[in-house]
Subunit: 330 residues, 2 copies
């Protein structure tokens, strides 16, 4: 009985299967299963298959208590991507501008330091983390909660294609499997399982990202949570993780330290004096353009060009009508 038969049976019956079921239906299915023909079909669709018992199967994922039968993979990266040092960056789908900024910076900086960032292709934090990696010219792993032939959510079809151009999308689900709510926690165990370190950027109470963190803690992986304001519901899950003993992440260097890596030195940026003045205020916390005008005494035109200068230089990020300093550079 092949592991591929397990995955194909799970797809055909719409069930979640990681070990051979005792039921007669499975024995009948497995006897009739034509592995060579199935593999040829996958190949034709540009889909690879790594059985759990194959030497290419990621060792960290093999170590969890219920590893999938195997992984379907799509993308241009070599399969060795699945064996490199991997960090999960996950969080809320409807994230705040703060969370989006931090997720993208982490994607960029962790990939820049040579780590593989894995996430779930979801809206919000997941997508920002993937995009940050692509900005840094890195390769990223997206783990799907549906069949490997689907790009879910549909709004991330183009992002999935960009991910596959240098990285991989992977799934334990065979082509044809529809996304379903119960598959996402199962998917989250794979994100956690692939990763030596899991980072939760923003999460409400009872968020799916906390499930990923739970899986990671159960498997003895290091879990980081990004602190946020206690007046924001989007940080209540992450701040609660800190209470439970997760490590606070304040810079990507915190994660690089775990792997004995050192980040790239931030290149010194030359800024005009107005931009320097504005940046000094932003370092004290988020502020609206109106407030920055009041605090700095700059006229509207000068302030606008200072803000544009800061954004282009990567020193500030706008979101939610609020500007923030971009100060987690390693």
């Amino acid at each position: 009985m092949s592991e591929l038969a397990l995955a194909a049976f799970a797809a055909e019956t719409g069930s979640h299967v990681v070990r051979a079921p005792r039921e007669r239906a499975f024995r009948v299915f497995a006897r009739r299963f034509d592995e060579a023909a199935y593999l040829a079909g996958l190949r034709e669709a540009g889909v690879g298959w790594i059985a759990r018992s194959a030497p290419e199967f990621p060792p960290l994922l093999h170590a969890i208590h219920d590893p999938p039968a195997g992984l379907f993979v799509r993308g241009e990266a070599g399969l060795d991507l699945l064996r490199r040092a991997t960090v999960a960056v996950v969080g809320a789908r409807s994230c705040s501008s703060y969370g989006a900024q931090v997720a993208r910076m982490l994607g960029r900086e962790l990939a820049g330091a040579g780590l593989v960032v894995v996430s779930g292709l979801a809206r919000g934090i997941d997508g920002e983390a993937h995009r940050g990696v692509l900005e840094a010219g890195g390769a990223t792993l997206a783990v799907l909660g549906c069949g490997i032939d689907r790009d879910y959510p549909a709004a991330h079809r183009e992002l999935a294609a960009r991910i596959r151009a240098t990285g991989l999308t992977v799934s334990e689900y065979a082509p044809g499997v529809e996304p379903a709510p119960w598959r996402f926690p199962a998917r989250n165990r794979i994100i956690a399982g692939l990763s030596a370190v899991a980072i939760v950027v923003e999460a409400r109470d009872r968020s799916g990202a906390l499930i990923t963190a739970d899986f990671a803690l159960e498997e003895g992986r290091e879990v980081f949570a990004v602190p946020g304001e206690i007046t924001s519901d989007l940080s209540s899950g992450t701040n609660d993780l800190l209470k439970l003993g997760a490590s606070p992440l304040t810079a990507s260097a915190d994660v690089l330290d775990v792997f004995g890596l050192v980040g790239a030195e931030a290149e010194p940026v030359e800024l005009g004096s107005s931009a320097e003045t504005v940046l000094a205020r932003l370092r004290d916390g988020p502020a609206s353009a109106d407030e920055l005008a009041r605090l700095t005494g700059l006229d509207a035109g000068t302030l606008a060009s200072a803000l544009t200068e800061l954004e282009l230089a990567g020193c500030a990020v706008a979101g939610g009508g609020v500007y923030r300093a971009n100060s987690i550079a390693t």
Copy 2:
């Protein structure tokens, strides 16, 4: 030799003295010191004195490794205020609107639950914590880093008078002692020493509030830090405290738990539908009025009155051109 002579000698010589110095100058001073006359002078100035050896001296402060010779006190509260369960709320002088909001809420809610809040009368977090207590009709303790007859900073003269109307200002420094930078760390040890729990709301790296936290940790007191955005320098000290093992504070209930107290139930607030809509957005994080208009689709007039309604109901706070939900109520 009386402890009061130590304090008077320290004032006369501009030094910091907690034990009898071996120098001849002190022996001469102590021999000539007229304690009864000095006490009469204090009484006339409305200043009380609690020697370290007196039964009224706060036991937690007595337990630190270098308790002051005694405390000078001013204010209408009875001296038993110094023996009640005490929490220090400290932080940056140039705090952000986020820090100010949290400090004031903590002052209000901790005092409302019957705890004595102690702080340093400084600008920023200290002042907001004291003001929060006064809003709740509570009594607060302000520890000065100068002579008990001074109100420092001058901008807080009125606040100091309001504190004394129901609470106390205290100092180890006798009347006439000028504020000096080196006295503030010494003052911070008293804030920490008086308190079973110390809370740092906002702090930059190398902030004075971190000195208070260090004293508290050294003396085995519980230290809380309020998480904040990793892109804000004003939260870098507090987030680093979390890394060092301080407990994350996300609600005043976290502190009340330490004392086995339960906070007052928040009274249910009836809000109009526009105010509810705006509050739902604010719960996801800080936003400017412009952004709120965009997100809610409310016209400027409706939005303005919804924001006013939320502020009056205590559900939202404005600061830095940004509105935040007031969601740390216990």
